[in-house]
């Protein structure tokens, strides 16, 4: 059974004047356990909206999201999220940021810090345990944000262009680290990006969304072994195919 099941999801954004915008139209998607899914598409194709609906931060106009077979309503700790913007709480140290969800569960301070320690280790930032977010680089902040989302032990990790604000070099490092984290924690990950390169490097399955209205253009399984080489011919071939598919969907309309 799928962990996450997106069923006939349609989302309209109603504005005060003019026609409502159709952000998503009848989107269906099944995501299996421990899969790494990337959703790609041009900006404005509704990929972030879809992720936010799965997170429970937006409602659907029609359709529903099932998590292990039961419909989701609103946010809950079974879905972790990493945002594109830096979302760490500046008033909390690294370890307390990671332990935040445990704090919300009412776990005592000593115990939750101990639990958070495990995730601090996974992101290799032990020496920054007591640092505050403003003392960290962009890449480090996103690593802490990943650890914070994981500390909740969610069933699925949602990532909304988490490396979008990073420079190309850091971005490549982060992608590699994310794959290691994924291998270690065995999470189901849904990752939104506009970078085809990033998607081909990371994903088991790539979902191409086409814009206005946002709907699924194509779903591609990537069976290249990891770690993938960006310069390999198969990698380039796949990237070309996806880019063409995106271009086609953009020009038809």
């Amino acid at each position: 059974m799928a962990v996450v099941s997106v069923q006939h999801v349609t989302k309209l954004f109603v504005r005060d004047e003019g026609e409502p915008t159709v952000a998503l139209k009848d989107v269906n998607l099944e995501i299996e356990e421990k899969q790494f899914i990337c959703i790609v598409g041009a900006s404005g194709c509704g990929k972030t909206t879809l992720l936010r609906i799965i997170a429970g931060l937006e409602t659907t106009t029609e359709g529903s999201i099932l998590l292990n077979g039961s419909p989701v309503e609103g946010t809950d700790t079974d879905r972790g999220m990493v945002f594109q913007e830096y979302s760490l709480f500046p008033w909390k140290s690294v370890i307390d940021n990671i332990a935040f969800s445990l704090e919300m569960q009412g776990i005592p301070k000593a115990e939750r810090r101990e639990k958070a320690e495990k995730y601090l280790k996974i992101i290799h930032l032990e020496q920054f345990r007591d640092a505050y977010p403003h003392e960290l680089s962009g890449g480090m902040r996103q690593r802490v944000a990943i650890a914070r989302a994981l500390a909740n032990e969610p069933k699925v990790l949602l990532m909304d262009e988490p490396f979008g604000a990073l420079d190309a070099q850091t971005r490549n490092v982060m992608q590699r680290e994310l794959l290691e984290i994924w291998a270690e924690t065995q999470k189901t990950i849904i990752f939104v990006t506009h970078s085809v390169d990033e998607a081909v490097f990371l994903a088991d399955k790539i979902v191409i969304l086409s814009p206005r209205p946002g709907k699924i253009e194509e779903v591609i399984s990537v069976d290249l072994p990891r770690m993938r080489h960006r310069t390999a011919p198969k990698f380039a071939e796949l990237r070309k195919h996806i880019l063409e598919s995106m271009e086609k969907s953009a020009t038809i309309r």
Binding site: D76, P90, K92, Y132, H134, R148
Partner: protein, 265 residues
């Protein structure tokens, strides 16, 4: 080493010298130019008056300081107790904002001293009457800054809070809104303490209080007695206490929040 020495020189000696220069000029002008204690008491006369007021058998300066600080404490405590919850509710709940905003905007422009007649009628000649005037002056900056602080909580913090388990408004307010709004709130409290301290003098001069002690009250008494040297003493004491309150508050706030606030983008 050399730069440290130079900085000590610049940061301590220069201010010291400029204050000393003002005192010397003051003394010369008072003694040789004005030559009238009533119009401008000299520095040495003020120092003598300070010693009499502070330590003399008839001096009431210690009692005046204590009573004024008491008035100030009443007013500030009340304005924090009322202002912070009001600001939070207005900043967080749209409907409360819409409901309370016109009321706040109508009352806010009334100068606090205009409330003195009603303060006396409602509270009598009590410490609470003086505290009430300080409250009126101090509460609005607290409301408005708390409101702004809660309004400006970055959306991503609220959403991160939601996905991490803050499902109720109460937990979002205490765990996300409050810490995020602290810099704005402390700025508001600082402003309100300055305004409250100013209102104190007016309130006491116009008779709010028990009518015996208070820095503002007896500043006015000395004016009526034409003891202008003591008036200057009270003016300077008011200024110095105002600065001390501000420094203590800033020191406290910095200790609490400077670690994460420093260099925040």
């Amino acid at each position: 080493m050399r730069t440290t020495k130079k900085n000590t020189y610049r940061n301590i000696l220069i201010p010291f010298a400029s204050v000393a220069a003002v005192i010397i000029i003051w003394q010369i002008v008072a003694v040789y130019v004005v030559g009238n204690t009533f119009k401008l008491p000299s520095f040495t006369e003020v120092v003598a008056a300070f010693i009499t007021d502070m330590f003399g058998s008839r001096g009431t300066l210690p009692e005046d300081i204590a009573v004024s600080l008491y008035h100030f404490a009443i007013g500030m405590a009340a304005s924090l107790i009322v202002g912070i919850p009001t600001g939070i509710c207005m900043g967080w709940f749209r409907d409360i904002d819409i409901a309370l905003n016109p009321i706040v905007e109508i009352i806010r422009p009334i100068p606090p001293l205009a409330w003195i007649p009603f303060a006396i009628i409602w509270f009598g000649l009590t410490h609470a009457a003086a505290g009430f005037i300080i409250f009126i002056g101090a509460v609005f900056p607290i409301i408005i800054n708390t409101y702004t602080g809660f309004r400006n909580v970055p959306k991503v913090f609220i959403e991160a809070g939601k996905v991490l388990g803050c499902t109720k408004n109460s937990s979002l307010i205490t765990k996300i809104g409050f810490p995020s709004a602290i810099p704005e709130m402390t700025a508001g409290i600082r402003v309100s303490m300055g305004i409250g301290w100013m209102c104190l003098v007016g309130a006491e001069i116009f008779g709010a209080g028990t009518g015996k002690y208070g820095l503002g009250k007896n500043l006015w008494t000395y004016y009526n007695l034409h003891q202008m040297d003591s008036v200057v003493v009270y003016m300077l004491v008011l200024g110095v206490i105002g600065i001390i309150i501000d420094i203590l508050f800033r020191h406290y706030v910095n200790k609490q929040t400077v670690r994460w606030q420093n260099n925040m983008e």
